[in-house]
């Protein structure tokens, strides 16, 4: 059963703030993530499935999966002084990989890869109490050629069907976005107007339109990570988004969004 759907920024400056990052802005994003945490408490999920793009941490050039599922007992990662160890909902993760493959998606699975900060920065702030087991779902965003937005959307649609047919209450989170260009000469000039137009589209319940954008467009707009959102949109369909916050910093469009789902 799919009970909740959210998108949450994962900028590391939200977790470890350098002096160059506006503290009030960071706290406003924290407040929006706090709303997600409260919503997750209300929704009582048995598991949290989180779609994120690895920042060349779990997967280097020895193997570059387009789509991957972490299937194991737990997963771990580090960032600065932070040490994360999170339980995986193994039956659900295994069902996702088995049924995903049955449906024609050639998923890679791992029982050992490191967990990237794209997974644990959002969870650091939104994990309800007591902590729920997670299902980490990877979409390649940083190492071209990445999966096309249409493929991400199709995978999300299949994922949604798989999750809806399960007995567990599952909340789905897309990690990442919006516009930013780390490591390039565009770092200080993201495309905030593009983000705002996109959020309007999502508020109107036209998320499926995103399945038609091209990879080139996402790269040009600093939105390669939107593949995680597009995956989620495949799962939730044309539900109207509620934007909790959009906070553009000098280098990053930080958004926190919910797609309120009809649940019995």
């Amino acid at each position: 059963m799919l009970v909740g759907a959210f998108a949450v920024a994962h900028t590391p400056q939200l977790l470890i703030r350098p002096e160059t990052e506006d503290r009030d802005l960071v706290l406003r994003v924290h407040a929006a993530m706090g709303r997600v945490k409260r919503r997750l408490q209300e929704l009582r999920p048995d598991a949290i499935a989180i779609v994120a793009g690895d920042h060349v941490e779990a997967f280097f050039l020895d193997a570059v999966p387009a789509l991957a599922v972490y299937v194991g007992r737990e997963c771990a990662g580090t960032f600065g002084p932070y040490r994360y160890r999170l339980d995986i909902h193994e039956p659900l993760a295994r069902a996702v990989v088995e049924q995903g493959i049955e449906r024609g998606f050639d998923l890679l699975y791992t029982q050992d890869a490191k967990l990237d900060y794209a997974f644990y920065v959002p969870l650091h702030f939104v994990m309800p109490e007591p902590a729920r087991p997670i299902v980490p779902l990877h979409v390649n965003v940083y190492l071209p050629p990445q999966p096309t937005p249409a493929r991400c959307h199709a995978w999300g649609a299949a994922l949604g069907e798989i999750l809806r047919a399960r007995p567990e209450r599952v909340a789905l989170i897309a990690s990442g976005g919006m516009s930013h260009f780390p490591g390039t000469d565009r770092y200080a000039s993201p495309e905030f107007d593009y983000d705002r137009a996109l959020l309007d589209l999502l508020r109107d319940g036209r998320g499926c339109d995103l399945a038609r954008v091209t990879g080139e467009e996402l790269d040009k707009r600093g939105n390669i990570e939107l593949r995680t959102w597009i995956t989620l949109l495949g799962a939730v369909g044309d539900v109207r988004a509620e934007v909790y916050c959009y906070e553009p910093s000098w280098h990053h469009g930080n958004a926190v969004v919910e797609w309120p789902l009809e649940t019995a």
Binding site: I16, F60, H124, L143, P144, G183, R186, E216
Partner: protein, 92 residues
């Protein structure tokens, strides 16, 4: 993806360079070795003299022109900067 993209296919000739940047980003033991003896650490990674010179200066444009992944350059540089001058960081 066009050649003008911000993030491009990593050419195989840049593999040692990208592997070195990956280690600087994600391997604390390698960062220690690099800080103690950058020449030995980068030779261990099989970098050319030109790559080593660009890395020493953390010359992003030159490294990216050699096929380094921009994100790896960015995070490797950040890790080295934090190691050199921890500065005021607020942990949440």
């Amino acid at each position: 993806m066009s050649e003008g993209a911000h993030y491009r296919f990593p050419p195989s000739e840049a593999y040692p360079l990208n592997r070195c940047l990956y280690a600087l980003k994600s391997d604390p033991a390698f960062i220690e070795r690099f800080l103690a003896d950058p020449v030995a650490a980068t030779l261990e990674m099989g970098l050319t003299e030109g790559e080593r010179a660009d890395l020493r200066r953390m010359d992003r444009d030159a490294l990216v022109a050699r096929g380094a992944h921009p994100y790896l350059v960015f995070m490797a540089g950040l890790r080295l900067k934090i190691a050199a001058e921890p500065g005021a960081l607020e942990y949440f």
